[in-house]
């Protein structure tokens, strides 16, 4: 008997208002209340409420045999509370049936797993706490934002005590292997992995209403037939998709809700399938192999990588600048700051800055409130600039102070370089004097001429001869090599006198 695992992602970004640079320092409210409220209410009416009702109906009809799971981001929960508490209520009702599961994720629907493991743990815990307090059960299975996964992320998740994690059954990772089995993390085998069957999932999520698609119109009967055709030995079929597929991405008029209503009946009819939640899948099945994912994957686009969020200079700058603030934010210990900090991290902000949609799919455009990625970037950076100012002010380290420190470091680096050049020069001079006595003539002249040819400006003739070119001063000192033995002995003394000892690490970093 094959297991069907349904998991739906529930998330709405908390959109920023148009925040101009002249708002920086003047206004600290970043959110587009109108869009956020109206979109949440619209989607609640078209999708969340009717789909939840449908799920309740299905549970009533099929009893224990029907199972389903959601992951609801903290950002979505916040907005349900603000704008559509009735959705929360209906999720509570579903939770009360005991046949559904709510998964753990990062509170902010963030990409923090790629930036900072500690902060990642904090956000996951925050989310699990919230889910437990709302629905009475603490999540045992984790799913990361956009199904982002790598061996290292999996290891952290396992360490936090989650027994299973969801990710994409990316073709470039699996190769000939099938996503329809349970796998385990390459670092910590205790973490089981459920892989999305992207073909069957996307048939519903993206292609369902596409009239240009060869299989249109898709009926529950036809779809159940496909599932039945899957090799008998395969065990789990993971259908993962956005919950908004039902009624929002795919309009009600396409018949998507009827499809969803009819599907369980078609599948349960012949006793070939059973439904299970992710944690049930993890206990029902044994993993067949480990999965090696050295570089992060996701469930987006053709490449199933991170390029939609961290694929260009703007996204990387915004992402880096954001997480540079982490320590300072913690120091503030201020609830307002913490709230904004959460909302700044929502992955959608980075998605809006993607330049992929110039060439890639309509999907990007559909989800993007900005006219261009440049627009999105400017707006985000304006907000981030204001946020950074507030954080800095609160912590007391003003921006000017930071820049002053930076300048000091730079000045010292320069000074260090100058001293280094001087040392090299002296060393060369000494060598020239010393060579006739110490070394055979041909070797020296040979090295000298080649050094001149390659790098005449730095005057690193000695560096060439002793071969630690590019290494730090200390490395040279510790290894006085053949060519400049006498010179090497003399130098450490003079350097210590100049008190460069403290600056050495910086100098070496630069080199």
């Amino acid at each position: 008997m094959k297991t069907i695992c349904l998991y739906f992602q529930v998330h709405q970004p908390f959109r920023f208002r148009r925040y101009r640079f002249f708002d920086i320092g003047e206004s600290h409210y970043y959110y587009d209340d109108y869009s956020n409220e109206s979109i949440m209410k619209k989607v609640a009416g078209r999708c969340y409420l009717p789909a939840n009702q449908l799920m309740l109906d299905l549970i009533e009809k099929y009893g224990e045999r029907f199972r389903v799971a959601w992951s609801v981001s903290g950002i979505a929960l916040d907005q349900f509370e603000l704008y559509a508490p009735e959705v929360l209520e209906s999720f509570r009702k579903l939770a009360a049936t005991g046949q559904v599961e709510f998964l753990a994720e990062t509170y902010s629907h963030s990409l923090v797993s790629l930036a900072d493991p500690d902060e990642f743990r904090v956000q996951v815990k925050e989310h699990s706490d919230r889910i437990e307090s709302l629905f009475g059960v603490r999540p045992g299975v984790f799913r990361n934002t956009e199904l982002v996964y790598s061996d290292d992320i999996g290891a952290v998740v396992a360490d936090m005590g989650y027994g299973a994690m969801l990710t994409e059954g990316a073709k470039h990772i699996l190769g000939w292997k099938s996503p329809n089995y349970l796998y385990y993390n390459a670092v910590n085998p205790r973490l089981k992995l459920l892989l999305k069957n992207y073909k069957l999932s996307d048939d519903i999520a993206f292609r369902f209403s596409d009239r240009g698609w060869g299989e249109w119109p898709l009926t529950a009967e036809k779809y159940a037939g496909w599932l039945r055709d899957i090799d008998k030995k395969e065990e789990v079929i993971n259908l993962f998709m956005d919950y908004e597929t039902f009624g929002e991405h795919q309009d009600v008029g396409t018949g998507i809700l009827e499809f969803l209503r009819a599907l369980p009946g078609e599948l349960l009819r012949h006793n070939e399938f059973r439904f299970a939640t992710p944690s049930e899948v993890a206990s029902l099945h044994e993993p067949v192999a480990s999965m090696h994912v050295p570089y992060p994957i996701s469930w987006a686009d053709e490449e199933r990588d991170l390029s939609a969020w961290l694929g260009n200079d703007m996204q990387n700058e915004a992402f880096t600048k954001l997480y540079e603030l982490k320590e300072l934010v913690k120091k503030t210990n201020d609830t307002k700051i913490m709230t904004d900090w959460r909302y700044l991290q929502v992955s959608d902000h980075f998605y809006y800055m993607s330049t992929k949609f110039f060439s890639d799919g309509e999907v990007h455009k559909y989800f993007n409130p900005y006219e261009s990625p440049y627009d999105a970037f400017i707006n985000y950076m304006n907000v981030l600039s204001d946020f950074a100012r507030r954080v800095n002010e609160m912590v007391g380290a003003t921006e000017t102070e930071t820049t002053m420190l930076k300048r000091q470091i730079r000045d010292r680096d320069e000074q260090l370089e100058k001293l280094q050049a001087e040392i090299n020069e002296l060393r060369e001079k000494r060598k020239l004097v010393a060579t006739p006595v110490v070394e055979g003539e041909e070797e020296v002249t040979g090295s000298k001429s080649s050094a001149k040819a390659s790098k005449p400006s730095t005057g690193s003739g000695s560096a060439k001869a002793s071969k630690p070119s590019g290494k730090s001063v200390s490395a040279k000192a510790s290894k006085p090599s053949t060519g400049s033995g006498s010179a090497g002995k003399a130098k450490p003394v003079s350097r210590k006198k100049a008190e460069t000892g403290e600056k050495k690490p910086r100098g070496s970093k630069k080199a």
Binding site: F21, F22, N312, M314, S372, Y374, F377, N382
Partner: protein, 431 residues
């Protein structure tokens, strides 16, 4: 296929966008095999070299025939100069100078703004229309003397010539709209010009517009059947490498540049207002307005009253190397045009690795992806974009990385091919 093409300026005597576009287009066309161009321009004879063949046309209008070979052209081009007293001039300063020198000589000088806006002062207004009519007369004679398959006329001054050639030869006429009087005048069109434009459009077998923006104007303001108007985008000449001296920025400050005529059409006042907003928040930036025009006094007064003159500079009209210099030291180029049929200059800025902000009300915004687009009136958005590009380093990097590639792919050869397709379609229908 032979094309009889009517223009009104050609290198080296270029006064504005039209000459640049004609040059690029004909150069692109020289790369299409089997396509021959007979280029006719009105010209006041004086300093030009006399070696070319001179034809004396009827009614005492001498016509000179030259075979010119230009750099980057695959073939030499037949070039006809009609001795007309029509002489387009670019800037008001130039105009004033010339009128003073000529003292009512034989030439009729008229003043145009980049793409042919006329300044009608009583002095030469009536004469000008007479000249246009004369040009048309000669065009008829030329048409009679030469064999060709299709006629192509650029902008309103040459429409009558195109129509005359069509009447004489019976060959189909394509007119190319680089701008309409609605763009040039900011809405208050000159009825005489409008009349010529409308008649030209109605007589044409096919109309080429330089952008969808212009195409819409042609359809809506001149009542032309949409099926007869196609859009063919302009392109930009590739940069000549290695010719430039290295320019260095004098101060370690950011420079934001407006380069164009200081006229209503170009939206200079929005640039000043946006500059003011940016300067309230940042001190490490200077704004430069390069160009001249009738709004100059108003702009300078406004900048002074905003108290930003210490950071806002005027250079006057720039040409040639000075333009390159300006681009080389600019960190950002802004084109806030109120109505810009196409707009080649942002492309030139991008060639020099300068990020650009352009208005939605420009034809070029229809094809550029790697540029920030704002509405010309939206000063807040414009200021925000300026601030963003100056402060968030990744933006300039993105523009430099992608903008140059994008603009390098806009080739005149492609535009020429597109024009050739238009010819083919017209001829297929005609015969």
């Amino acid at each position: 296929m032979r094309v009889l093409m009517f223009g009104w300026e050609f290198p080296p005597h270029i006064s504005g966008g039209l000459g640049t576009a004609c040059y690029g287009l004909t150069r692109g066309m020289s790369h299409i095999s089997g396509l021959e161009v007979l280029f006719v321009v009105p010209k006041a004879w004086g300093d030009e070299d006399q070696s070319a063949l001179t034809l004396i046309a009827a009614d005492n209008f001498p016509v000179r025939k030259k075979f010119i070979e230009m750099k980057n052209f695959l073939r030499e081009m037949t070039y006809l100069e009609v001795h007309s007293r029509l002489v387009p001039y670019m800037s008001p300063e130039d105009y004033a100078e010339t009128v003073n020198n000529s003292e009512g000589g034989s030439n009729v000088y008229f003043n145009t703004e980049e793409i042919g806006k006329l300044k009608f002062t009583g002095k030469y207004g009536p004469d000008l229309f007479q000249e246009i009519a004369n040009y048309a007369l000669v065009a008829g004679v030329i048409a009679d003397d030469h064999s060709f398959d299709i006629i192509h006329a650029h902008d309103w001054l040459t429409y009558p010539a195109g129509m005359a050639a069509k009447a004489v030869s019976g060959k189909p006429l394509v007119i190319h709209v680089h701008a309409t009087d609605f763009d040039r005048s900011g809405g208050s069109v000159n009825p005489g010009v409008f009349e010529i434009e409308k008649r030209g459009m109605e007589a044409a077998d096919m109309i080429i517009a330089v952008s969808n923006l212009t195409r819409t104007t042609v359809i809506e303001k001149y009542g032309i059947n949409p099926a007869r108007v196609v859009t063919v985008y302009n392109a930009v000449e590739p940069l000549e490498l290695g010719e430039w001296p290295e320019f260095r920025k004098p101060v370690n400050e950011k420079i934001v540049t407006f380069l164009g005529r200081i006229t209503l059409q170009k939206g200079p006042e929005y640039f000043v207002e946006a500059a003011h907003k940016v300067l309230m928040k940042s001190d490490n930036v200077r704004f430069v307005m390069a160009g001249s025009g009738d709004l100059f006094p108003r702009i300078i007064r406004r900048a002074a009253s905003l108290g930003i003159m210490d950071r806002f500079h005027f250079t006057g009209f720039l040409r040639g190397q000075d333009v390159n210099h300006m681009f080389a030291i600019s960190d950002l180029y802004v084109m806030p045009s109120v109505s810009e049929p196409f707009g080649i200059s942002p492309l030139e800025a991008m060639q020099s690795n300068v990020p650009v902000i352009i208005s939605h009300q420009s034809g070029v915004s229809e094809i550029l992806k790697h540029a920030i687009k704002v509405d010309f009136w939206d000063i807040d958005a414009m200021a925000d974009a300026i601030y963003g590009i100056l402060h968030y380093g990744a933006l300039s990097e993105m523009f430099k990385k992608h903008g140059k590639t994008e603009v390098d792919n806009l080739k005149w050869e492609n535009s020429a091919l597109h024009v050739k397709q238009v010819y083919d379609a017209v001829l297929a229908k005609y015969y």
